[in-house]
Structures are given as C-alpha cells and as structure tokens.
Symmetry: C2
Subunit: 330 residues, 2 copies
C-alpha cells in the first residue's frame, strides 16, 4: 500500500509509492518508450489493460473488446490504491496516511498515431466528456476531496507510453498548489469582491498583448508571470468555479485543439504537460476560484535555483510567446 | 534588464530574463556541454570569464591570472543585474519590479576533472568559506533580502558547464519556498516553543532509520517525506538559524563530502542539485528556523501530476534510501 506523508517543514504531501519501488540501479536504466512496438492501448489489446471503468462504443452492452472510441481503465501501476479506509496516523511529529485514491487512464482514441492536436474535433470533445463523467462519479466517494486531471505528452514530459492518453488521480486531500491558488483567490475576493481570474481576463482582453485566441466562451492566453516558455492558460470567459457545470464541451474542445496545434507548430511538436485546475468538491460552487487548463511545454531544465527557491527563470517573455502563437499558421 | 513578475494567483515570483531571450527554434537545439573542449573555468583561461569578485590564491596582490585555488566571478549570462535601483510598479492588477540582483559563479577548483566528492577535503572547506564570504558581503547591500546558494552537477541537473562550480543569486525578495518553510517553522515554534528542525533531528537520532551519517556537529538524513528518491538533508545538530555564524567549516566539509561520495557510489555519479536554505537577512538570528543543505539527485521526471498539484510521487522510501547510503562502501 502506498503511503501519503506530509513534510512538516514545507507543509507539502508526497506519495511514497513503494510498490513502484526502485532500487538504485533502476534509475540509470530508464529507457524511452518503444516506438512502434506492442501497445496495450491499441485496439485489439484490451485484455492487456485492467478492465474498463468506462468506454465510449456504439454497442453499449459490450466491454473490453474492440469497437470503442475511448476507454478509461485503472492505471496498471497506480500511485494510490482504491481499496481501504482512510487512516490518518502520526509517527512522532510526522503525519501520514495510507495511500487511498484512484488513478485512472483515459485512452483518448484507438488510433496509435493520433494526438489531441490531430484527432477529429469530436474526439477531443469526447475526452472532455470523459473527464466530466469520471469527476462526477468519483465525487460521490466521500474519501476524496479532489480529482486532478492531467496529461503528459512525450517521453520528456513523463509519458511512459506513446499512445495518446490522459490520466486522473482522485485524492483524499486538496493538493498544495491548488490550495495555494484558492487561498490567494479568496484573499483577493475578500478585498475586492471580484474573482481575480475574471479581473485578469478583463484586463488581458483590453491589452491583448498576451491573448492567444478566443471564441464565444473561452480565452487562451500567456500568463503575466509564466514559470516557463510558452506556458498557456485556457479559461472560461464567464465565471465558473468548477469543471464544468454547463458541459458546453464543443467550444472548449475547439480552443483546446487550436492551442495545441499552435504549440505543435511553433515549437515543433514539443513534449508538454496539461493540467485542469478546478475547485475542490467541498467548495465546488463559489465566487472566488475559476477553473482553468494549464498547458506547459517542457522546454527547459528545472535546476537547483528553482528547486531551492520556488522562483523560475523564464527566458521567453509571455508577450513574445503569445505573438508567436497568434501568428502560427495552423 | 530582466524583470521580476508576480503571478497573482499562486503568489509566486518569476524572473523573465529576456536577454537570455530564446526564440522557439532555440529550444529544440539544446546541446549537451562539450566534453573535453575549451573550458573557461580552467586555469589559464581567466581572461575569458568576467573579472574576479574574489579568489583564493597564495599571492594576494594578483588577480585574473593563474595561481588560484578557487575563483568567484559574475555569471556571464546573469539571471538578474547588479546595477540600478529597485523599482516596484504595477501593471493593472499585476505586480513587477526590475530584475535587480547578483548572480555569481564559484569555480570550486582549477582542476577540470575534480568534483566536490573527489577534491581534497581542504578544497571543499574552501568552497564553504567562499559561500560565507560572499553572503557576508552581499548582506551589506540593502537592496537584497536573501542569497540562495546552489549547485547543479551534471547536464541533466541543469549544469551548462562541466567544470565543477556552484552559484549564488542575491534576491530583492525572500523566495517563495523559503518563506513557506519559515512560516511553517514559525507556526510550530509559536505552538511548541521549540524549533521544528531540532525536534526532527531529536526524533530521527532516536529512530535511526533515516539517519545516514553524523559527526560531532552535523547530521545527514533522508527526510520523512522526500519529493524524490535519495533526497538528503544535512543539518547542524545544535540550533543555528543562519549559515553559519561559527564558521566551523571543517566538520561540515567532512559530512558534505562523505554524503556526496555515498550518493556517487550508490547511484553511480548521478546528476544532482544542491541548495543551502538559511534565514533571510532581516531575521537572520532566530529560534524557529534552522539552516540546512538539501541534496537532490536528479533521477525522475517531473510530470503533469507534480506540476499541477505540488504533490510528488516518490518510488523509493527514505528508509530504504538511507540504508543504501549507510551501507555504501566509500
């Protein structure tokens, strides 16, 4: 069973996933995912993954056989385990709990060679529906406080399989970074009686220098203080605290795919990480936090200064990045 | 001039270092440092670096010529600039300031093929003295609130030059992560009237499972909740809030080199980052914060989950890591 442990000095929790247990010599043997070999996520290989939690397929009576357009399965090497009761205990001055959680993989398409940028728009929309269904379901489990949806694209961004997929982890605690954003947003709201994200969107839409694109409901922009080059945010233009009550996924799919195409074009198919930040279950509907998608191309190495300070040195201004993105011919 | 910008949502500052300005195509061309080619840090090439800020050499009247054992120079591509007045301004709801700071490089030895683990112990001690002298000097500059000393060893840990060196950056603000540690330590002190680090050292010294080694003044240990495998802390056993009032560098050099030798042995010369965390200038001597060195071998990829949550998934338990380190034959 994995363990959640809290560092008393930083207040940060970590997952000690001993079953993934690595001995020192394992680290030097890290290999890149094989290109073109056997793929457990391809159609026909359904029996090689854990069983389906959910799948989109015309014949709804079938499962774990070909004929699907999207599949969700448990992660074969889960960071957290779904079975068991949450058990918080101390170890002297330290705090820990057993590693309860859900760790699922969204196989976005049966086609090995497609990506979120190149698949049909309808498939991108389905991926968003899949996130929505799984969050709605996991929310019913009272052990969980948050579901983090994320995607690692490319070996250098941490993807261990080439076939395009997203993941989600349901957690018994609200993650540190989300909590930090919520606290700042709440402070701002208490002071201004306005959502800080709404204010940012308003200001950016006037200045335009960091706006990348927009449609009726969404805006994509380079944040004022990005940690790394070409970091991009996608936000709903009207206040929405959680992903995503109105389920208008077609316009979100449109701007998401457009943004990824721009990134692929400008940076030549870089590895990237994508994350959805939304309000925790307990305060799902509120006036101060505003859900959003963060996309972070993996272009620079995080080194000692960043690890030690939490400061980031970014060699590309967001104004320049936004300009490149806007001008990309996609 | 670089710019410091604050992200209003996370509260995190970033350095937009536009002079290091990178165009999109630069990122795909990242090359590893050349092995065995020309090295600006080797003896005889002093004229190819910025002028010496400080050097250790028998003939103290000379500078910028061979005959030194350690040199400190400005970083040729500084993240922050030393000239100018601090100027905080708003840009609508955003906050920024000009990028004032010092960015220095400590060339730890003239010998290209030595490292902190393999150089004579006396040279390690000199490196610590160099940190001490530079912090003491930069403290006099009222624009600075903090000096972060760090080291990137190996290309994958962000070192752009092979020749062993450390760096320091003097900052006009206390870094986010240090501030966070200080706040937690202060909360603990307010509640317990004891330093949390002292309590940790006390508990670890009894349980022994995470202790790696110790000498009269220092202890090295695997923290209870490490972000990544083989993360290691070195702390003074008796309470000291800042690096390092009594200047007893010989015992620190001893445990530091021993720890690095253990890491090199167990993990086969891994890339790593090393950081010194100390109290900010304004509260240099206090009862709640305890300076320490963090060493973080670079063994795993930071991916979407970590970026989005601030949670880390660590596949090696600190108890196992400490055992490997203790048993390493060095």
């Amino acid at each position: 069973m994995p363990e959640l442990r809290k560092d008393p000095i930083s207040g940060r929790w970590v997952i000690i996933s001993i079953e993934r247990g690595k001995r020192p010599t394992d680290f030097s043997m890290r290999v890149s995912p094989k290109k073109g070999g056997f793929c457990a996520f391809c159609e026909g290989n359904e029996h090689t993954t854990p069983p389906e939690i959910l799948a989109f397929r015309p014949d709804k009576d079938k499962s774990n056989i070909p004929g699907w357009t999207l599949r969700i399965v448990s992660n074969k090497f889960p960071a957290l385990h779904i079975e068991g009761q949450l058990n918080r205990v101390g170890e002297g001055i330290f705090d820990k709990m057993n590693g309860i959680g859900a760790h699922e993989v969204i196989i976005e398409t049966p086609e090995h060679n497609l990506t979120l940028s190149t698949m049909p728009l309808k498939s991108v929309e389905d991926v968003l529906w899949a996130f929505h269904y799984r969050i709605s379901d996991l929310k019913k489990d009272s052990r969980f406080k948050y579901v983090l949806v994320f995607k690692n694209e490319g070996d250098n961004a941490g993807a261990s399989l080439e076939h395009t997929h997203s993941q989600l982890i349901a957690l018994p605690i609200v993650p540190h970074l989300v909590q930090e954003e919520i606290e700042h947003a709440r402070d701002y709201y208490n002071y201004k009686e306005r959502c800080i994200f709404c204010d940012i969107i308003h200001q950016e839409a006037i200045s335009k220098t960091r706006v990348i694109s927009e449609n009726e409901d969404f805006i994509s922009l380079a944040p004022f203080a990005p940690r790394s080059p070409f970091e991009t945010l996608i936000l709903p233009k009207r206040h929405e605290s959680n992903f995503m009550p109105n389920s208008k996924f077609s316009l979100l799919a449109q701007i998401l795919q457009r943004t990824l195409k721009q990134i692929d074009k400008v940076l030549n198919l870089p590895p990237y990480n994508m994350i959805i930040h939304t309000s925790p279950f307990k305060e799902e509907t509120n006036d101060y936090y505003h859900w959003h998608i963060e996309i972070k191309p993996k272009l620079i190495t995080i080194a000692g200064f960043e690890w030690g300070s939490g400061f980031y040195i970014n060699p590309t201004s967001p104004e320049e990045a936004a300009k490149f993105m806007r001008e990309a011919e996609i």
